[in-house]
């Protein structure tokens, strides 16, 4: 079977069209700025922004609010093994989601859509499972967690700030890049930003109560994932 477009009588000669359009194309290109920073540098900057935001929370916010740096990582000796495992898995989850959202793959067109869908759908349940199934501070003496907001309001604010910074950095890195499967890529990008915020509050906060963890820790990850699904496709359109 052949296929050539419109009926030949309506199709302009492609060579003539292409030559005719070179002038207008050139004019539009000359008037438009091109991004000068290479993609790898942009992606590196986005990763650095996520790391910097998390580190800032570890160093500053936690000591301001809880009087102790990285209060969330202060656990009873019996829970140190669990802390190590959960912290490593959370870091791995966060970096993996960031990588899946930013990678150009082998084709230059990004991660396969099946991987994007899997990452987008699994990020929140995986995070929730890690922090809710055996909450790290659930068995801590009450003195350690005294003064915590029962609904995790402070964690929500910290997570929103860290997530927004990561979200902005990742969106800036992806702008004009990888023009395929933008909705799912947006979802994974939002999930990655949410996971950075989730990692930050994990380090920031020593809470072990289910309500607090659900609202202050897990909800931001879910919200950023949804935000990514809904907003990123439009943000990435130039």
């Amino acid at each position: 079977m052949i296929g050539t477009g419109l009926p030949p009588s309506e199709v302009p000669d492609p060579r003539a069209s292409v030559e005719r359009l070179l002038g207008p194309v050139r004019a539009r290109i000359e008037a438009a700025p091109a991004a000068k920073v290479r993609y790898r540098a942009r992606a590196g900057l986005a990763l650095a922004a996520g790391l910097a935001a998390t580190a800032t929370v570890v160093v500053m916010a936690s000591s301001v609010v809880h009087g102790e740096q990285a209060a969330g990582l202060t656990v009873l000796p019996s829970a140190r093994g669990q802390l190590l495992v959960v912290a490593c898995l959370l870091a791995l989850l966060t970096v993996s989601a960031t990588h899946v959202s930013l990678t150009r793959g082998r084709t230059g067109l990004g991660a396969p859509v099946s991987l994007l869908v899997a990452a987008g759908l699994l990020a929140v349940p995986a995070y929730a499972a890690l922090v809710l199934v055996h909450p790290l501070h659930a068995g801590d003496p009450p003195a350690l967690t005294a003064g915590l907001s029962p609904w995790g309001a402070r964690c929500l604010i910290v997570a929103a700030l860290v997530g927004a910074l990561s979200f902005g950095a990742l969106a800036a890195a992806l702008r004009d890049a990888v023009p395929v499967a933008r909705r799912w890529r947006g979802g994974v990008m939002g999930a990655a930003a949410g996971l950075w915020s989730g990692l930050a509050v994990f380090v920031f906060c020593p809470a072990g109560e289910l309500d607090h963890l659900l609202i202050g820790h897990v909800a931001p990850v879910a919200m950023f994932t949804l935000l990514g699904l809904m907003v990123v496709p439009a943000l990435l359109r130039s």
Binding site: I2, T107, D176, V180
Partner: protein, 237 residues
Amino acid sequence: MGKSNLEPVRVEEVNGESAERRPEASVRLLPSASMRHHPNLGSALMERYASGDDAVFDQLYSLTAPRVYGFCVRLTGHPAAADDLFQETYLKLHRGRSTYLAGSDVLHWIFAIARSAYLDRLRYRRRRPEHLGSSEDAAEMAASRSDEQYRPDADLAADHLERVISVELQKMSEKNRAAYVLLREEGLSLKEAAAVLGASQNAVKQRAHRAYEQIRAALRRAGWTEQDDDRNGAAAE
């Protein structure tokens, strides 16, 4: 962008044959398989362009534009809309050039940009409906000629075949159309088409199959048989 010091590489020269020796060039929207013969050249040119060498744009354009234009015509179904989409595609390529992955197939990347730009246009049109004349026009134009008599002349037969295919392509969903065009006309593999369309290989296979079946049914309704199809396809090739 600076003025190019290099003469644009003409597609005919890249192919090593002139258009005059190929009478079907006036019929085929894909006047050459230049990128198929020179995939590394496209990649090398795009790498230079991505690193800020504006002078290679003309060469890159000459190498890729014919197939990109054909793809745009197929997506939009209307020459004027194809012109706009084509320009938009190269503008986006320019804006996003720093994100090009060295060594990847530049044509597939441009196809993805073109399709993405086309989807943006569809969304924009859905939000602000106005008559831009595309698929409906193509269908109307072809329908208005449906009473023309078939004559057993190879060119007219090919013309008729083209009309049926064109009309049917514009009737189907954008997803099916894009899958069909990339697989059947642009010659991409299933894996490549899936990457360009941002869908799974199975989904692309099903979409292309649905498109193919729709076209086959339309050809049968128009009085074509499989043998006619093959014979006239060969004549037009």
